[in-house]
């Protein structure tokens, strides 16, 4: 039983034809225009075999677009691409796969109703008798592919039953198992916790040793410095610089990316003792149990836990997306009996969910409509929406959050991932909530925008409001929280004050 | 040479054999063949409001006369009014219209047909026994009137018991399934079948065969005299098919219409006036012409089949 690879034998005979340039991939002068946006102008990129090439830049810089051109999803307007010395021009992703390029997409692309193994081997199922799928064989192969990432899941489990992080890991396993010459990783870690990231890093090192070239896109610069050999910076679709990682540092990169310095965690607030949200013995069968805490006005409460600890589930129950089975929630001294999110919203609560594509954005609608959908009622006259009023608030919010878009009428599905996240954030800020619940709010957000969001969070609680911040990024939780609620397997493992909290203390409780 | 007389024929629907025969006969009317009349046939797609729209279209195009086979006796009146308002004469054919603006009507009496077909089966049963009735689409004029005839006959024959009456929408396939279900529900009890058209009677006959019942032992009746029904009569499987003379209804309608357009000097060209001597031409000025029903039996089936063959070969 050998791992089937999705490419022809001809393409794999690289030994017979060593790349003359020394690059496994050579991109020269690629440009791409979308209606209203020049996404890429004259971008070049070279990747050596057995190395990791990081690609960084702000949201909307054009990173994903470049990758989609490489795999033949979009056609380039101009420029040359050479793979192992041969010029290539793909117009179907299948061709790129056959030629040895595989990708982990930025947005999850799981097929929910199929099993893990079926997802992993889609398009290259091991067969028996020539025609039928060899399920036992496929499941065994799937187990093995997942084991590379220390992922232990039943291969026949349906994809939709997995958490976001688990799905992400399966996608990584899938890309790796193609045994491609080039693996593109477009923000592979945005949904992962630290432990999973470690497994990924280990796999990447193995791949490097095998001679695979890797393009690594991430907004987490620590990862870039940990794993990448070279780095290329894009800004507004332009190639800014390429260099070995050893020749630069964090601040240097940030300056190249955004053209200025970025701030750390600007924490200015001081919590009061007036309770805002009191949660007692909150339980939802099968998800979390006996969670109790009090959030005070002016306080940021961090919620930390490993993947699958139940953070998202807790937030969803607090916002009445799901219904808790027992326990009580008191908001501003009043017992909450909301049954639907609309009622929670009317109580001035807000929730930014974890999976922006599935539960955040309304993809076929415009940026303006997406931002305004929760507050339309406030901009009506005689029952009719005032387009002017809506336009004004949306414009000013987009400016505050620095959303990069062609116009507010652009469909939100055409925004870059990070900008999409800002749109969701903007929607909830427009409701002027007094309690903001954030589930992985900076996922896929670039450094500059992250700092903006942190600054905004501080200002927000300064006005006597409260924030619950669920995040699997420990530095973020440590940096922004006044107290940290640590969850483990659906239970509260403890609450640490800012003074008590340290990386070790938190991890001790979480593991 | 004069410009041809432009006649529109608005028929309720062209997807079943009967109206197809009717249309063919009309197209072969001598006046159409020799170019005196330019004929356009409008398919009403079994929808009263589509027919209404087609009347509006014909009025726009200033047709000289219209032959009308309405899907509904009541709804047809509105369409006739549209044409009458524009001074275009309308002659009804095959199905009645409840309108006093109709120039004339030629057709066969559906109530009478329904009565005759039921009586035929009842007589074969000797006035005693259980029957089932298969109906057309509920609410269509032909269904309403044939049912009325069926019911009149039932009242006259107290020895006949109706076990079930369900619609099969003029369809052989639907009638087949219905009849299969009837045969299960009333095992060994069904003595006769009244199908309000031949297609449905033929479906019932197939169901009898499938249930292992010899169709020659169960009296069946249908209306229209479609080709398959004649064949079944010839084979002894189908007992009564009542020929609704499509050719007579079509040719007659055009003759009457031409008499209204050209004037009393017009001599009718249709073959029906000789075939049915009991029908008097009267200069085409009668309000109503009744084409008699002809029972298709073993005696006349061969002759009728030959005529049919002539009508259907292109």
């Amino acid at each position: 039983m050998t791992l089937p690879v999705g490419r022809s034998d001809v393409a794999t005979s690289e030994a017979a034809m060593p790349p003359q340039s020394g690059f496994v991939l050579d991109v020269q002068g690629v440009s791409k225009r979308f209606p209203g946006v020049q996404a890429l102008s004259d971008v070049s990129l070279q990747v050596r075999p057995g190395s990791v090439h990081a690609l960084v830049g702000e949201n909307g810089a054009g990173k994903s677009t470049l990758m989609k051109i490489l795999i033949g999803w979009h056609r380039r307007d101009r420029g040359e691409i050479a793979l192992k010395g041969q010029p290539v021009d793909f117009h179907e992703p299948k061709q790129a796969l056959n030629a040895g390029i595989s990708i982990i997409q930025q947005e999850l692309s799981a097929i929910g109703d199929m099993s893990i193994a079926e997802n992993l081997f889609l398009g290259r199922e091991p067969r028996r008798a020539g025609a039928f799928i060899d399920y036992p064989g496929m499941n065994a192969l799937a187990k093995r592919a997942m084991a590379e990432l220390e992922l232990e899941l039943d291969p026949w489990r349906k994809m939709k039953s997995l958490s976001v992080a688990q799905m992400q890991l399966v996608e990584i396993a899938k890309a790796i198992s193609h045994e491609a010459d080039i693996i593109i990783m477009d923000e592979p870690t945005s949904a992962l916790g630290d432990r999973e990231i470690e497994h990924l890093m280990a796999s990447i090192r193995k791949l490097k040793a095998r001679g695979t070239g890797i393009i690594y896109i991430s907004h987490k610069l620590e990862e870039v410095f940990e794993i990448a050999d070279e780095v290329t910076v894009l800004r507004d679709g332009h190639h800014i610089a390429s260099m070995p990682t050893g020749e630069t540092d964090r601040d240097g990169l940030i300056r190249l990316m955004i053209g200025r310095e970025a701030k750390g965690f600007p924490k200015t607030n001081t919590p009061t003792t007036r309770p805002l949200l009191e949660v007692e013995q909150l339980t939802r069968e099968g998800e979390f149990r006996d969670v109790s805490f009090t959030l005070h006005e002016g306080e940021i409460l961090g919620v930390f836990g490993l993947m699958g600890a139940g953070k998202s589930e807790l937030l969803n129950a607090l916002f009445s997306v799901t219904r808790a089975t027992s326990g009580s929630v008191t908001f501003r001294g009043k017992r909450l009996r909301a049954r639907y999110p609309s009622q929670a919203m009317r109580n001035n609560m807000a929730l930014i969910t974890e999976d922006r594509k599935a539960t955040g954005l309304i993809l076929p609608m415009s940026v303006r409509d997406n931002m305004a959908i929760s507050t339309l009622g406030r901009h009506t006259r005689f029952g009719f929406v005032s387009a002017l009023g809506v336009g004004r608030v949306v414009s000013s919010m987009s400016q505050d959050l620095d959303v990069r878009m062609a116009s507010p009428r652009q469909l939100v599905k055409f925004l870059s991932g990070g900008n999409q996240q800002k749109v969701v954030l903007g929607r909830w800020l427009l409701t002027k909530p007094s309690l903001l619940m954030l589930d992985e709010p900076t996922r896929g957000i670039d450094i500059g925008a992250k700092a903006e969001i942190y600054r905004f969070m501080s200002e927000f609680v300064d006005q006597g409001k409260g924030i619950v911040l669920a995040s699997s990024e420990l530095p973020e939780v440590l940096g922004m929280s006044d107290r940290i609620l640590v969850m483990k397997a659906g239970r509260m493992a403890g609450i640490l004050t800012r003074e008590q909290a340290s990386e070790e203390a938190v991890m001790q409780l979480a593991v | 040479q004069d410009a041809p007389i432009r006649v529109g024929a608005a028929v309720y629907g062209l997807q079943a054999e009967y109206m197809q025969l009717w249309t063919t006969a009309l197209q072969r009317h001598p006046a159409v063949v020799d170019g005196t009349v330019e004929l356009t046939v409008f398919d009403g797609r079994y929808d009263a409001s589509v027919q209404q729209g087609q009347f509006e279209t014909m009025v726009t195009q200033r047709f000289d006369g219209i032959i009308f086979v309405p899907i509904d006796i009541e709804a047809g009146a509105a369409a006739v009014a549209v044409a009458a308002g524009a001074g275009i004469p309308v002659v009804g054919s095959n199905t009645r219209v409840n309108s006093d603006e109709l120039a004339s009507y030629i057709g066969s009496d559906d109530v009478l047909g329904g009565y005759q077909q039921a009586v035929g089966v009842f007589e074969l049963l000797g006035g005693e026994g259980n029957i089932v009735i298969l109906e057309g689409p509920l609410g269509q004029s032909a269904q309403i009137e044939r049912r009325e005839g069926n019911m009149m006959a039932l009242e006259e024959y107290p020895g006949i018991n109706m076990l079930a009456m369900q619609p099969a929408n003029w369809s052989r396939a639907e009638a087949l399934a219905r009849m299969e279900n009837f045969l299960t529900t009333y095992p060994g009890q069904i003595d006769g079948v009244v199908g309000q058209n031949d297609e449905m009677a033929l479906g019932a006959i197939e169901a009898l065969k499938a249930a292992g019942i010899d169709p020659t032992t169960i009296p069946t009746s249908g209306i229209d005299g479609v080709t398959d029904a004649m064949l079944a009569v010839k084979a002894g499987e189908h007992d009564i098919s009542i020929l609704q003379d499509a050719r007579a209804q079509a040719e007659g309608a055009l003759d009457i219409l031409l008499a209204r357009i050209i004037g009393p000097e017009y001599e009718p060209l249709g073959e029906l006036w000789t075939r049915y001597p009991e029908m008097e031409w009267n200069g085409g000025m009668d309000e109503e012409y009744n084409v008699p029903w002809t029972n298709i039996t073993l005696d006349n089936v061969d002759e009728l089949l030959e005529e049919r063959e002539a009508l259907t070969t292109r």
Partner: protein
């Protein structure tokens, strides 16, 4: 400034490519039939389009929420029948218009609300609910009329279907009036945005505080109400409430919506497209009749023209 306008027109045409197909169709028909582009014929086309138009407006709302309403044809029959019963002397006296119309509309709306509740509150798939209602409403129509046409309607009732106002047929006026109201509702009120949001991403809409169930409930009620209005016009036009009215009308209504570019997946589409879709269907039916195309070839051509029109549209978009 001028450039901006021409760009806008270009974007408009790309987004509504189907309008080009429509224009081509109109030009072709005008060239091939002298009657096509005449006042009376345009009036006919619009009158014939008005009933499907009303159904298609309601259907647009439903489809935008990613639903479907197969029951419109039967609900049309039921609403028209109930109104006709009141407008005829079936109940002993001919009730005036202001009784007959509301009764008919209410009948359709109630059936629509039953659809809506089952879809919104009991989460039964719309296809099943409305297919069931297709059958139920037809049964109710037959029961209420005892399977017979209801005729002898009051003259004021018949006016609704046959009358003219300022040279324009009343059904056409009603259709455009409803279209205007629907436009206001869909594009100028929060409800309209919610309709799009529910179809675009129901879960996200719900979390954003939209009462998604009420939205779904309402669109089916609207569809039922407009179907009944269509039924009233139809019965007035044909001067009888017909038990078999509206059979298979759902297909034309959905077709108009989809031809107009609205996606059956929900969340995407435009009322303007629906108008074009309705007109294309009406023009094709009318044009083939005007040209005297024989029945069997009409069926073939009609299908081919509609596919070709949309094909043109989707080719342009690439």
């Amino acid at each position: 400034m001028k450039q901006a306008r021409s760009l806008r027109i270009r974007i408009f045409l790309i987004e509504n490519g189907i309008i080009i197909a429509f224009i081509l169709l109109v030009v072709a028909l005008t060239l091939s039939s002298e009657f096509f582009l005449t006042g009376p014929n345009i009036r006919n086309v619009l009158r014939q389009a008005s009933i499907n138009g009303l159904l298609a407006i309601g259907m647009t709302f439903v489809i935008l929420t990613a639903g479907i309403d197969l029951s419109v044809g039967s609900v049309l029959a039921f609403g028209g029948m109930i109104a006709a019963i009141f407008a005829s002397s079936s109940l002993g006296e001919q009730y005036p218009l202001y009784v007959a119309l509301p009764m008919g509309l209410a009948a359709g709306t109630v059936l629509g609300m039953v659809n809506g509740s089952l879809v919104a509150f009991f989460r039964v798939p719309p296809f099943v609910v409305t297919l069931g209602m297709l059958s139920i409403a037809r049964g109710l129509t037959l029961i209420s009329s005892d399977g017979m046409p209801v005729s002898r309607l009051s003259p004021e009732y018949i006016y609704v279907g046959q009358g003219m106002l300022a040279g324009i047929p009343v059904p056409v006026l009603i259709f455009f009036g409803v279209l205007g109201l629907a436009w206001l509702l869909l594009y100028q009120t929060p409800f309209g945005r919610y309709v799009y949001a529910v179809g675009g991403n129901e879960e996200a809409a719900r979390i954003s505080g939209v009462n998604t169930r009420m939205v779904k409930f309402t669109v089916y009620a609207i569809s039922g109400c407009l179907a009944a209005l269509g039924g009233i016009i139809l019965s007035a036009r044909t001067t009888a409430g017909l038990p078999q009215a509206g059979v298979a009308y759902e297909l034309d209504a959905i077709a108009a919506v989809v031809i107009g570019g609205t996606s059956l997946a929900g969340g995407q589409g435009r009322l303007f497209g629906t108008l074009i879709g309705v007109l294309i269907i009406a023009v094709v039916n009318n044009g083939l009749d005007l040209l005297g195309v024989s029945a069997y070839y009409q069926l073939t051509f009609k299908g081919a023209i509609i596919v070709a029109a949309v094909l043109l549209d989707s080719m342009r978009q690439r």
